[in-house]
Amino acid sequence: MDLFLQTLVNGILIGGILICLTIGFQLTFGVLHVIDFAVGGWTMLGGYTAYWLVTLAGIDPFISIFLVFALFLLIGRGLGPLIYHVRTSRYARPDLMALAFTFGIFLFMRGGALWLWSYNSRSVESVLSGQFLSLGPVTIPLMRLSAFVMALLFSLGLFILLYRSRFGMAVRALAQNHDHAGLMGVDVKRVSAWVYGIYTALTASAGVLIATVYSVNPSVGIRYTLFAFFVAVLAGLGSVGGVLVAGLALGLLEAYVATYIGARYSLLIVFGTLYLTLLVAPKGVLGRGI
């Protein structure tokens, strides 16, 4: 029973980070209609940035996460118009071309990280590392708890932006219909670029948290791309709200499989579930739309 509770807590804590990881991805799909293969790449780069900031400048990841957010907001904002261009080009099957394009970006990130920083896993140290909070039978690493809270704050921030601001209204209008939003005076290209920026910023921030809780190496990208896909598919592609449930579901699934079946089976079961979910309910289990 203790083990069960401990696993529950672990699952929820990781699930919170997965929510932050996927929520921007969903927004991008909703607005730009682009499935970004590079989602794991942004996660990985966020982790590495935090690693170098703490190693070279001694900035704790819970502070540097804001720097990472700002940095990747700008990078994403810069890349956004390119993605928009590919997605809206006259070329036949622009959806597939956009897919291939982000796949290329991802390959570039993954290969670049491998080339620059080699296969080694690097862990990101924080002042909270190695501290625990005991609640009855359950032990909670403080870092995981803080990461969870941080992830939820970022996600909450996105919701406030979406539902309580002019910009958010434009974004939601875009997600409903490009043409109509354009007619109503929304600068589709600019808003899309900012959405892409927000997405990369959120995902990189989640990457900081993941690197702090686990570690970072060039091959984590693939894993988190698939995790993001998993959460997104379960939530219904483009559904921002569904991510809240789907993220927790994946966190719990992974935690319970690791505890009760064995960690080496966890990826097998995660990918198997993802594949079956796609076959059974490609439109998602938890509703759709922003």
């Binding site: 071309m97 897919l99 291939a100 290329g104 991802f106 390959l107 670049g112 896909f229 990918f271």
Partner: protein, 325 residues
């Protein structure tokens, strides 16, 4: 109708070119050292793999990120059947490898190819990763430590085997897609599925057929590769790099063209080996692949082949780079 006579001089030139190429390919091993011969063998393999991926990705318009699964199925089938307790000879293992891969392709192709675009890409990727994870935990695949095959150190044998397999793949695809009804079905499916249906084309069947064909060719090369390298492990035959390269080779050469994949496959494999011999490893190769994909999508969506064989494509390329459509 009137265009037939115009084609004749072109046809002669083309047959001469093809004849010269065949002679060059057959005579090549006599002219080069064993190291270069290995590179040539690899180039043939990648050209063939690109050709296989192109059937689904280029002609049917379904971007698969899961073809490493079929490569692995071929490689593992051959490796397992050639273990000393079974002791099958190499050529005997090809048939079960191909049949198994086609069976898997038909089984997963039906439901998976109901998914469109990105959903299909994700599903195939998830499937391939699932299979990769599965072979690492199973016993009869040797888990993470992989399998060794009986060594057969005859580079000429592998060169000619790859040559035959590759040539058969390209000729097969050319006949089937450029010279038969099947080609119209598959291209119509790619361009507009509802319209193809409305013309009586049974798109679900065409999709599964093309997926199975593509899987069979991929598995064939997986089998030969396993025997060639004499040792396989999960990541060497099912790792994401296999699919990555297939995708990039086809995109670079020309999506949905017969000869584009050959061009892309050979070029990229030579680049890969060149980087390997210059830097001692191929790590820088991956980011280069990434940049190539991005550039091709932005500036050359019809691939390199369009510069050689297409009409007015050069002009289009320039206008695309300069003026953004």
């Amino acid at each position: 109708m009137a265009s037939k006579p115009d084609l004749t001089p072109k046809l002669i030139v083309r047959s001469l070119l093809i004849g010269a190429m065949v002679i060059a390919l057959v005579a090549l091993p006599a002219a080069i050292d064993p190291y270069t011969l290995r590179i040539a063998t690899g180039a043939l393999m990648w050209a063939g793999l690109a050709c296989a991926w192109n059937i689904v990705g280029g002609y049917a318009g379904y971007i698969s990120f899961g073809h490493s699964a079929f490569f692995g199925i071929g490689a593992y089938t051959t490796a397992i059947l050639m273990q000393s307790d079974v002791g099958a000879s190499f050529f005997v293992t090809l048939l079960p490898a191909i049949i198994l891969s086609m069976a898997v392709a038909v089984a997963i192709g039906g439901p998976t190819m109901r998914l469109r675009g990105a959903y299909f890409a994700i599903a195939t990727w998830a499937f391939a990763e699932m299979l990769l994870q599965l072979v690492t935990v199973l016993d009869f695949t040797g888990g993470t430590s992989g399998l060794s095959l009986p060594a057969y150190l005859n580079e000429f044998f592998f060169y000619y085997t790859m040559l035959i397999a590759s040539a058969a793949s390209f000729i097969g695809v050319w006949v089937l897609i450029e010279r038969s009804r099947f080609g119209f079905r598959i291209k119509a499916l790619r361009d507009d599925e509802p319209a193809a249906e409305s013309l009586g084309i049974r798109t679900n069947l065409v999709k599964v057929q093309s997926f199975a064909l593509s899987a069979a060719i991929t598995a064939l090369f997986g089998s030969i590769y396993a025997y060639w390298t004499t040792y396989i492990d999960p990541y060497s035959v099912m790792g994401p790099e296999i699919t990555d390269q297939m995708v990039v080779m086809v995109l670079l050469g020309g999506l949905g063209t017969v000869w584009g994949p050959a061009l892309g496959g050979v070029l990229l494999w030579i680049t890969n080996r060149y980087i390997w011999s210059t830097f001692g490893d191929t790590v820088i190769y991956l980011p280069i692949l990434g940049v190539i994909i991005a550039l091709v999508v932005l500036f050359l969506p019809n691939g390199l082949i369009s510069l050689i064989m297409g009409r007015q494509r050069g002009k289009e390329l320039i206008s695309r780079i300069l003026g953004k459509l």
